[in-house]
Amino acid sequence: MNASQKICNMNNPIDLLEQIKKVDAPPFLLTRIKQKIENAQQASFSKGLSWSLMISLCMMVLLNIAVMIKYTNTTTSIQDSTLAAAMNFLPTNSLYE
């Protein structure tokens, strides 16, 4: 007779649950719980630090982009010939005059 047959032959099989006894919790659990709490606190601290560093990095990148955009807009275009005259360069490529 297998387990299912044994249990189905009982008047009220669910009453079998009442025979389960209470047991004591293992003694080492409190140590493990305290360790987990400490690990969780350290994890949240390093998470905060990571977020701060990432935000700082993003702000620096955005600042650089803003400066580059501003610098590009304010630069005036200089004609090549004006530049050549200002720097005493010859206006042509020929080596022999």
Partner: protein
């Protein structure tokens, strides 16, 4: 009351309740640890709308059910054999790994089979049945823990019993 005192007064309750859900010591230990870590982290949020025991019971029930769901998710990805029904991804015979220190050896076989049927019940029915038949809580106490009416508890327990008996008859 310090955390240590809270732990000492409730460790038995939490560990035994977790055992009724997972039926093995290893998982029950893990759930117990998670429960008390959660209690420690959210004690400030306890608004005293219920007793602290009721609050801890609720956390334990939620953690136990979450643990079971997480385990089922792992199993579902791990097995691709003819254990499955053709139209379902559930395991055909999900016999629990019974390592329950509160079960006597002579009852182990019968209770393994009984728990395999109980584990297939919906969460609320399973919870009501465990609190009623194993934890021996009154309907009023169960209603406070589950945040439902005593009538709803009675209905859940009745449906759970019917469900278990039906499953036992189907598996014969």
């Amino acid at each position: 009351m310090t955390f240590e005192q809270l732990y000492e007064s409730h460790k038995g309750i939490v560990f035994n309740l977790a055992l009724q859900y997972v039926q093995n010591t290893e998982d029950a230990e893990e759930i117990t640890q998670d429960v008390f870590v959660s209690v420690y982290q959210s004690i400030d949020q306890f608004k005293e709308q219920s007793s602290i025991s009721t609050w801890i019971y609720r956390i334990c029930i939620n953690k136990s059910l979450d643990h079971i769901k997480a385990k089922k998710r792992k199993k579902r990805f791990g097995i691709f054999t003819s254990l499955f029904y053709e139209d379902s991804s559930d395991l055909r015979y999900d016999l629990p790994n019974i390592d329950h220190p509160g079960i006597q050896l002579e009852q182990k076989e019968r209770l393994t089979y009984l728990f395999s049927c109980i584990n297939q019940l919906p969460d609320k029915q399973k919870t009501a049945l465990i609190l009623s038949k194993i934890e021996r809580k009154s309907q009023v106490e169960i209603a406070a823990i589950m945040n439902i009416s005593p009538k709803a508890v009675e209905s859940l327990v009745q449906r759970a019993k019917t469900g278990v008996l039906k499953k036992m008859n189907l598996n014969e």
